[in-house]
């Protein structure tokens, strides 16, 4: 489902989805996506868990479950293909969603044996769940009478608890801050605020709050000129500490930091964690989060563009993870979208939260049942 998304959305952002695929192919893809829909609502990640018609029952349905990320990406794929979601089991899917939520507000990946919530406690599932809710619930309750909503306040509380002491967001509370999870945290909240008009202001989304400013600081700090592992002997050494003398004297004995000339650094990508090297996809995860927070302007766009085009773009096309790495689908897509955020010519504008073209989002929000 994810590979399909990277391919379809990639073609869409390049503006060639219609010319590179035929109407029959697009219809075939739509039919395949619906083929992955689980009878009780939601989508599987791949058809491989399907036992075939007539074999599903209470005892075995845990082995062919709907999967939270797969459901989100199936919906996005359908929207990219121009489908109106009329064959989506909307009611069933929204009834399933609260069953994948835990008492602490977090989401799992699927409903496992005996109705247990399966999968790690992980912000990725939260973001996909919020995305499913945004796509299928829309701004209207029409046709959804009696369908329970997720626990929105508990959900927000869990996400807030994932902010770490350095301002970034972690997979779960007290884990290490990480740009991918930070994207998911803010994506979750952004999905909520798109449809809930009565949402209380969330500090993480409110400029000026400690939470918001610490997050911006952390995100800005992810941009780095450290592109790859230096040779062993070039590594800035860890000083052997002689703990004699007063602290003041020891500080005075340290070497001075040399000023860095702005013209000596031509490229700067992004890392995903403190003290890691840059990686193409983090230009997206950090950049998209800053887009959602409306603070993309803290990014050094020129150096990010040079990093992507001159360092990780491959001769044969596409982007690799780092300099010299072979191109792959994931890094090619996210490298390209990072450039789209900066208005690169030839790329369609991308909605940072959906991770697909703004066209896709306009299509969703124009569907009659979505609006009212």
């Amino acid at each position: 489902m994810l590979l399909g998304y990277l391919t379809l959305s990639g073609l869409d952002v390049l503006g060639v989805l219609q010319s590179k695929t035929t109407p029959e192919e697009r219809q075939g893809y739509i039919d395949w996506l619906y083929h992955c829909q689980v009878p009780s609502g939601g989508f599987r990640g791949f058809p491989g868990t399907d036992f075939g018609p007539g074999k599903r029952n209470k005892d075995n349905e845990a082995w062919d479950p709907a999967n939270v990320p797969a459901t989100f990406f199936a919906l996005v794929n359908l929207l990219i293909l121009g489908d109106d979601l009329s064959r989506v089991k909307r009611r069933e899917c929204l009834e399933w969603l609260p069953k994948v939520q835990r008492a602490d507000g977090s989401f799992g990946e699927l409903v496992g044996p005996e109705g247990s919530v399966g999968g790690p406690r992980d912000l990725r599932y939260c973001c996909c769940a919020a995305g499913i809710r945004y796509v299928l619930r829309g701004r209207s309750e029409t046709g959804l009478e009696g369908v329970p909503d997720i626990d929105v306040l508990g959900f927000i509380s869990f996400i807030e608890a994932c902010q770490t002491y350095d301002g970034g967001m972690a997979e779960s509370p007290f884990c290490e801050s990480h740009s991918g999870h930070t994207y998911c945290a803010i994506g979750s909240l952004d999905f909520l605020r798109r449809t809930c008009n009565d949402l209380k202001p969330v500090p993480l989304l409110s400029a000026g709050s400690n939470q918001f400013e610490a997050l911006i600081t952390w995100l800005a700090s992810r941009q780095t000129a450290q592109l790859e592992e230096p040779d062993e002997d070039e590594d800035e050494e860890q000083r052997e500490v002689t703990d004699t003398g007063s602290i003041d004297n020891r500080v005075r004995g340290l070497p001075n930091v040399q000023p860095i000339g702005a013209d000596t650094i031509s490229c700067a990508g992004f890392n995903g964690r403190c003290n890691k090297y840059a990686d193409t996809c983090y230009s997206f995860w950090n950049g998209a989060t800053l887009m959602m927070l409306d603070q993309y302007s803290v990014v050094d766009e020129v150096r990010n563009r040079r990093y992507l085009l001159e360092k990780t773009q491959h001769l044969v096309g596409g982007f690799g993870k780092g300099p010299g790495d072979p191109p792959d689908l994931l890094h090619s897509y996210f490298g390209m979208v990072s450039l789209a955020f900066q208005g690169e010519v030839g790329l369609s504008p991308v909605d940072p939260t959906m991770g697909s073209s703004e066209r896709t989002v306009r299509h969703l929000e124009s569907l009659p049942w979505w609006q009212s």
Binding site: L3, T7, G52, G105, P113, G119, T164, S172, I216, A262
Partner: protein
């Protein structure tokens, strides 16, 4: 097709269920994957035993076969866990096998979740199996910042209440001695020192996380502060800063320690000022620290701007836009 399973008498009673990718009814698979014949055969038998919800030895060994070909298959792990418990298998044997799989597939998260599911069983693991810590150090020897492994270790600490187990802090200090920039190890230390110990909510994280009545600004702050512990942690951070003054991790660790204690950044003003004098800067993080101290102090805004300008023009040109953002905010506050 003649295959490993179709020719095995043990499997003769099972009718495999072929993969239905929808193509027979006109659907076109997005991202077609060319599965090897062995994988297609094994998964056709897997679907058959799953459909029958079979809990058996043969199903258990089949799951191992499928995992060896595709460890990212997300239901085979859950099914395997269910069979292990249903047949009351020796879970230590399972852990030994998992060790090998983990070392082979370093980036796979299903393996770690499976491990967590097994260790969650109070019946099998009433107390912490000490060999776990040895294995995790073996994993860290491969990649000392592996996110899945650290997340799992975090879970172990909470589940078995290991905050004060000497081994936890020893391992963190061993890893920081090897690489003082290992931010994962710094984070683990923070969790050991300041993570909530209330396990009445089995998996809630930060202090007051699930409590809606707590103001967000109060979250993460300790209600009872052990001042000696705080002082010890601040000292530990200072020593690490002296080893590598441009290392961001201990500077932010210290900020987190002060916040947990409800103490302000100004407490370190004396220490930090030693790093910043005219024409001699020993750490850019010290300049940032002073900027933050001055920004909060009435009448010191110009000093804060001077620090931020120094970062922008001399020490951190990549973040020019960010330092400008900070300067603009101060200008607005003064105006």
């Amino acid at each position: 097709m003649e295959g490993k399973y179709s020719t095995d008498p043990e499997w003769a009673s099972v009718t495999p269920i072929d993969l239905d990718d929808g193509s027979s009814s006109g659907a076109m698979p997005l991202a077609t994957i060319a599965y090897p014949a062995e994988y297609l055969e094994a998964t056709s038998y897997l679907r058959a035993v799953m459909a029958a919800n079979e809990m058996s030895e043969r199903a258990l060994s089949l799951t191992k076969d499928v995992i060896s070909m595709n460890p990212a298959h997300y239901t085979v792990w859950i099914y395997r866990a269910k069979i292990l418990f249903a047949l009351d298998k020796d879970l230590n044997e399972e852990l030994n096998w998992l060790n090998d799989v983990s070392l082979k597939y370093l980036k796979n998260y299903q393996i770690w979740h499976h491990r967590q599911v097994l260790l969650s069983s109070k019946a099998h693991f009433p107390t912490f199996p000490p060999k776990e810590a040895d294995f995790l150090m073996e994993m860290f020897a491969q990649d000392s910042k592996n996110y899945h492994v650290w997340t799992y270790r975090h879970w172990l600490v909470r589940h078995f209440r290991l905050w004060d187990q000497p081994r936890e802090l020893e391992d963190v200090e061993f890893l920081l001695k090897a690489d003082v920039r290992n931010n994962s190890a710094w984070n683990h230390r923070y969790m050991l020192r300041f993570g909530p110990r209330d396990t009445s909510l089995p998996d809630a994280g930060m202090v007051n996380a699930g409590d809606l009545s707590t103001a967000p600004t109060e979250k993460g702050r300790l209600s009872i502060v052990d001042e000696d512990l705080i002082d010890g942690e601040l000292k530990f951070a200072q020593e690490a800063i002296l080893r590598a003054p441009e290392n961001r991790s201990p500077w932010w660790y210290a900020r987190g320690v002060l916040r947990a204690a409800g103490r302000g950044l100004a407490e370190w003003e004396g220490f930090v000022s030693g790093f910043v004098s005219e024409g001699a800067v020993k750490s850019s993080h010290a300049v940032e620290w002073l900027a933050d101290v001055f920004a909060e102090r009435a009448g010191k805004e110009a000093e804060a701007v001077r620090m931020l300008t120094m970062l922008k023009e001399e020490f951190d040109p990549i973040r020019k836009n960010y330092w400008d953002y900070r300067i603009r905010k101060l200008d607005q506050a003064v105006a």
